[in-house]
């Protein structure tokens, strides 16, 4: 990553964090429904999405704000969607859990765990058969890797040679169950060879490492036309959804990962390298905060959809 890219990455990560914190506040104030935040996972989202080109497409899940904002989503419209307002990306019908934004290439978000894995192969098949350039990045969690669909998807993509970048954001939690309670191996990539799929696991809290690994994976896909599994090892710093007191979380584990907060790590690095000092970072944070404040203002002022929307867009 160039210094410029690293600065851009920090701004995106700050934007995502501020967006999540605003959503938490709205939820706490009773203005938004339950929402799943990706606090702590910003480097994974930004590192991968920055490695994509405009032609590439993204499928994501319930923990999607990072992917959306890194892809250039307008925070006013994501926030409006979270509040169920008419100018949200899905006209308020999605709410926070399945936001897609076709214009950005973020397609078919599913909040059914594993849903995006079932759909990604088809999206890639379209690209391939219609001769469209670009690959398909499919984000999912370590929990989704427990669903059989994970294997069915990898296997089909391998057998049909589909250009899918599988991104497993291993954040150690599957709602209220720790990853170690649900599988015996340490890395999701252990499954890749038996499907004939290349893979790699990377420190998901180091945005440069993620970006480099994603770039290599994407190059491999573009070259071979074959799928690739990238695991970003990270941590869910907040609860599964809001509110969630995390009483079931081992405080030591949490402290360990808090010290590895990806934003902290990147800030320290940029400051140390003299790329962006503390003052510059503060200005950036203010800018980001203003953008999010404005987004919240927009969303709260945005009307709810009219009641006839209840039965529109059921059928094409």
């Amino acid at each position: 990553m160039t210094p410029k890219q690293r600065i851009e990455a920090l701004e995106q990560m700050l934007l995502i964090r501020a967006h999540e914190e605003a959503a938490v506040a709205l939820q706490g104030a009773g203005k938004a429904g339950g929402t799943c935040t990706a606090v702590g996972q910003e480097a994974s989202a930004v590192g991968v999405v920055m490695a994509l080109t405009e032609n590439d497409q993204i499928l994501t899940n319930h923990r999607s704000i990072g992917h959306l904002l890194a892809r250039g989503a307008d925070p006013r419209r994501t926030m409006a969607e979270i509040l169920g307002r008419q100018d949200g990306y899905c006209a308020g019908k999605s709410g926070s859990l399945h936001i897609s934004a076709r214009e950005l290439g973020v397609v078919l978000t599913s909040t059914i765990v594993g849903g995006e894995l079932g759909l990604a192969t088809g999206v890639a098949l379209s690209r391939k058969m219609l001769g469209q350039p670009g690959i398909v990045a499919c984000f999912f969690g370590d929990g989704a890797a427990c669903e059989g669909r994970f294997h069915e998807s990898l296997n089909l993509a391998a057998v049909w040679e589909l250009p899918v970048l599988y991104v497993c954001e291993n954040n150690h939690w599957q709602a209220f169950v720790h990853r170690r309670e649900t599988m015996l191996v340490e890395s999701i990539t252990a499954h890749a060879p038996a499907h004939g799929v290349e893979s790699n696991a990377v420190d998901g809290n180091d945005v440069e490492a993620v970006h480099d690994a994603a770039s290599a994976a994407i190059a491999h896909i573009r070259k071979t036309g074959r799928p690739y599994l990238l695991e970003t090892v990270t941590y869910r710093l907040r609860g599964h959804y809001e509110p969630d007191d995390q009483s079931y979380v081992d405080p030591q584990e949490l402290a360990h990962w808090r010290a590895r907060d990806p934003i902290l790590l990147l800030k320290r690095k940029l400051d140390g390298e003299g790329v962006l000092d503390a003052a510059g970072q503060q200005r950036m944070e203010q800018r980001v905060r203003r953008r999010i404040e404005e987004a919240v203002g927009f969303a709260e002022a945005n009307p709810y959809p009219s009641l006839d929307a209840l039965t529109t867009d059921v059928y094409a």
Partner: protein, 330 residues
């Protein structure tokens, strides 16, 4: 007008639509093996075998449909759809709506069902009502070779996910077949009558027609209505006939509770109420899994004799009460 079997009619719809529209492709377990003719004409990209995994087959279809292709998938037997419910119901059925209309899902899911093969309830389970109950989906279930072809053509051209169930016992029946597209959502009157309307779909349409013959011998004029598409349901044709005859018997192989017959009866009881001259009756398969044993499997399905008895009771007295009319042979 060529005569052909229902199976051939279905194949000819596939071929014509694949010729017509290069976005149409077909895949499933054994599709490329069993449909060599399609494979040869359209190539390995458009006619594909898949790994044995219904969930990802349906998911791939939904993903492809939303992004520019028009897949037809063969999931073989209806009960195997149990592995693909998320992809069909939660993804294809809901993601248009939940995305605020950003995506459409032009895809067709083929599956066979019904008695005739002696293979039991894990191959034979008429679950069409599940999909009628779910939003965003359409459901077709033809009774004639012409409809196997014409409805499938309409299904492939439709921009929504269509479940296309074929009744196993009809596969080798022959009939005249044209190039006509049969629009989804239009029922057909298969026989005109005055005294009673027999409403059905798929194989049991023919059971109703046989019963109507027998009823005619006894001076009773039965109208036979073939729903053809279960969702959207052609309420208008149903109600018009119900109002004309004042008596309705719904017949199907699927089990009774919350089946298509329940819906038809409920619609009639609401909207043709003042024209009804008798209770609305249902003759259905029993609330049991389908057995493999041949005589049991046959007994599972409504028979002409049961329809005749039911209709005569209905006409003989205006208050047939509490007569148990489940699919058990009488």
């Amino acid at each position: 007008m060529p005569r052909m079997t229902a199976n051939d009619a279905l194949t000819s719809a596939l071929i014509e639509e694949m010729r017509r529209d290069s976005r149409v492709l077909m895949f499933g377990e054994g599709v490329a093996t069993k449909r060599r003719d399609l494979l040869e004409e359209f190539g390995a990209a458009r006619v594909r075998n898949t790994p044995l995994a219904e969930g990802i087959i349906a998911g791939t279809a939904a993903g492809a449909a939303a992004t520019g292709l028009r897949p037809v998938i063969d999931l073989l037997f209806a009960p195997f759809l149990c592995y693909a419910m998320d992809e069909i119901v939660n993804s294809a059925g809901k993601l248009r709506y939940l995305s605020g209309g950003q995506f459409a899902f032009p895809m067709v899911v083929l599956a066979a069902t019904g008695a005739g093969w002696g293979v039991g309830a894990q191959h034979n389970h008429n679950i069409e009502a599940w999909f009628a109950h779910s939003p965003g989906l359409k459901v077709a279930m033809p009774s004639t070779p012409a409809d196997f072809k014409g409805l499938l053509k309409a299904a492939i051209r439709d921009d929504n996910p269509v479940l296309f169930f074929t009744d196993l016992a009809l596969g080798f029946t022959e009939g005249d077949v044209t190039d006509e597209v049969v629009p989804l959502g239009q029922a057909a009157i298969r026989r005109n009558g005055r005294d009673v309307t027999l409403i059905s779909y798929a194989k049991t349409v023919h059971t109703c027609l046989a019963a109507a013959e027998q009823l005619a011998d006894r001076g009773i004029s039965a109208e036979v209505l073939d729903l053809r598409t279960l969702k959207p349901l052609d309420e208008e044709t149903v109600l018009a006939s119900a109002r004309r005859t004042g008596r309705v018997v719904v017949v199907h192989e699927a089990s009774r509770m919350c089946g298509i017959g329940a819906e038809v009866a409920a619609i009639v009881a609401e909207k043709a109420f003042r024209d009804l001259r008798a209770p609305v009756l249902r003759l259905t398969g029993p609330d049991a899994p389908a057995p493999a044993s041949f005589p049991l499997e046959q007994a599972f399905v409504p028979q002409p004799g049961q329809i005749v008895t039911t209709v005569r009771d209905l006409l003989g007295t205006r208050d047939v009460r509490d007569v148990e009319l489940a699919g058990v042979p009488v």
